[in-house]
């Protein structure tokens, strides 16, 4: 039941992404859709949070380091009740609280990032303080695969191991593509598992578009005391829209009305397929 609910939520959020784009235009839809299942599971079942009290003192912290995926996070936060639906229709409009990369003014946004390679360090600082306080609050960070080429990410990977941050859970959205090409061609960075393990992290590889796998991986993390966790989530860029899947030109997509309608039909077909896969 939990899984079916999450699949439905995730596909509702996908439709919301397209609806926003239909009304407000361009967005980084490829990476947003690849990570939507992860974000939906996190906010739906994993994070201790309170949308009515976004600064609740016992909340877990989520940091969107690959912040160009923000449109996905906006749909998730809104569906969880962080803010009014009306705000979604202001995407990138004058005075909006939801620009392409987030600002601090939106309820639910802990840190407004956008320049890649900052999120894991900020999260590390938060996790160190929580660990020292022997708090059971956790810190989750979503990183992009292309972002892993930033040197500062590896600085943070080193220090998280040094400070034994078992309350820090990083998720890498590995969709194989980045802004201008295949990651393996732009800057080969795999294998993540070996690299992170050699830096002292515990890793787990999952299908990042399989709600059940995401749910199991996240609900059982952290996996070992005194070691930071990394979930390597293999995903499909543009997941859910057949014509956008794994296509570089949909990293940052300028849609028209017709293609948006077609995208929604495709998302609904995929929802049906996913629901059939998990059964009742």
């Amino acid at each position: 039941m939990i899984i079916r609910n999450l699949i439905n939520k995730s596909y509702n959020n996908r439709i919301r992404v397209v609806e926003i784009m239909k009304k407000c235009g361009v967005a980084h839809v490829g990476g947003a859709l690849s990570s939507l299942d992860i974000l939906t599971v996190l906010y739906g079942e994993i994070l201790k949070h309170n949308p009515k009290d976004p600064k609740w003192e016992n909340r877990d912290i989520f940091i969107l380091s690959a912040a160009h995926k923000a449109i996905a996070l906006y749909t998730v936060l809104q569906s969880e009740g962080y803010f009014d639906e009306k705000i979604l229709w202001t995407y990138n409009q004058m005075g909006t609280k939801i620009p392409t990369h987030p600002n601090n003014e939106l309820p639910g946004i802990e840190f407004a990032l956008g320049s890649l390679g900052h999120g894991l360090s900020v999260a590390g600082g938060i996790a160190i303080v929580l660990k020292r306080e022997t708090s059971n609050r956790k810190v989750y960070v979503l990183l992009g695969e292309g972002e892993m080429a930033e040197g500062s990410v590896w600085e943070a990977i080193m220090s998280a191991a040094k400070y034994r941050l078992d309350n820090l859970i990083a998720i890498i959205d590995v969709n194989g593509l980045q802004a201008e090409g295949y990651t393996k061609e732009v800057m080969p960075i795999e294998p993540f598992e070996d690299k992170l393990a050699s830096f002292g992290w515990i890793t787990k590889k999952i299908n990042g578009n399989d709600i059940k796998q995401i749910y199991i991986a996240l609900s059982s993390a952290p996996y070992r005391k005194d070691q930071p966790t990394c979930i390597i989530a293999n995903t499909i860029k543009g997941k859910g829209i057949y014509f956008a899947e794994s296509k570089i030109e949909y990293h940052n997509w300028v849609p028209n009305e017709k293609s948006c309608d077609e995208a929604i039909i495709s998302i609904e077909k995929n929802r049906k397929k996913e629901l059939e896969k998990v059964g009742k």
Binding site: G125, R132, Y163
Partner: protein, 319 residues
């Protein structure tokens, strides 16, 4: 021939001052933590580390990571002090300061060690005469260039009392104590050290003590100069500058920094919009300077008290 009227300037390394004042601050404020990028001994934080090992965090030679960790800790209510060599602290981490600290207005104190010409023999990567320039753009960030060890001490103690990030320059040769007529240190408020009518000298950092002696020489040449210690470069004490500028109509800014986008530029912004006064900016002509012993380099750029006096005299007598 020696001029007995001059103030004798004894200097101290800012790190020595930091050593005790930081422990004193840590005793008073439990949220204070230290962030090191393989830089704590040079910063003067050894005593702190020994006394409060649980509040000391070493990130190795990885300034960007250290800086964003400071942001994360400040987000959780800590008062992190991130201290490393000024060029690294401000320029290697500029984007981390801009996005992760200044924009969300977090309480991080950044101390730029060896600011200004302190590392005059260390080569161009270590000379920090453009740190104020890069940081002046950032909303919410306070910038302090202390005139002496008391300013430095007070800046550290006061920085945790204000809301938002603070950058403090730490000079290797910091005057121990300048005369200041019992004026209190307040962030954002300049100190009128000496009143005068012919010209206003506004200085920051070690240039304040030089200005005091320049003023003594100028007096002998019948020029009555007003001296302001403008330790806080951002926010600038507009009121004090304008009051003095309206009186003397002539302002000289002196800084151990490039004249591009430093103290002088800040004063120019204030004057150009509010007051009909002339401004002479004294400092380094760009962020690239000749290398050599500290005092020789200052002399080369006309930044010793007697050379400053000559420039001020010429400026005052200019039609």
């Amino acid at each position: 021939m020696e001029n007995n009227n001059l103030e004798k300037i004894i200097t101290i390394n800012a790190a020595k001052v930091f050593e005790d004042v930081f422990v004193e601050l840590a005793e008073r404020n439990r949220e204070v933590v230290f962030i090191s990028a393989d830089s704590y001994i040079g910063a003067g934080a050894k005593k702190f580390k020994e006394r409060y090992p649980e509040r000391f965090f070493e990130f190795g030679i990885a300034e960007q990571n250290a800086c964003s960790h400071a942001a994360g800790m400040a987000f959780m209510g800590k008062k992190p002090f991130f201290c490393t060599i000024a060029t690294f602290a401000t320029m290697r981490c500029f984007e981390q300061i801009r996005n992760d600290i200044a924009r969300p207005n977090l309480n991080v104190v950044i101390i730029g060690r060896g600011a200004g010409m302190s590392y005059s023999i260390q080569g161009p990567t270590h000379v920090s005469i453009d740190d104020i320039g890069v940081l002046r753009n950032l909303k919410n960030l306070t910038i302090i260039d202390p005139a002496d060890s008391l300013d430095f001490k007070n800046a550290i103690l006061e920085s945790v009392k204000i809301s938002g990030p603070v950058y403090i320059r730490a000079h290797k040769k910091l005057p121990l104590k300048i005369i200041r007529n019992k004026l209190k240190f307040r962030i954002g408020k300049g100190q009128l050290i000496k009143e005068g009518n012919d010209v206003t000298i506004v200085a920051c950092g070690p240039m304040v003590s030089k200005s005091i002696n320049s003023s003594i020489l100028l007096k002998e040449r019948k020029i009555d100069s007003e001296i302001i210690n403008l330790h806080t470069i951002k926010p600038l004490d507009r009121e004090l500058i304008l009051k003095s500028a309206k009186k003397t109509k002539k302002i000289v800014s002196i800084e151990e920094h490039s004249i591009i986008n430093g103290l002088g530029s800040g004063i120019a912004d204030v004057l150009s919009e509010n007051c009909n006064a002339r401004l002479l900016k004294i400092g380094f002509d760009s962020n690239i300077a000749i290398e050599g012993p500290y005092d020789d380099v200052l002399s080369y750029y006309g930044l010793q008290y007697d050379e400053i006096a000559v420039q001020v005299e010429e400026f005052v007598n200019m039609n």
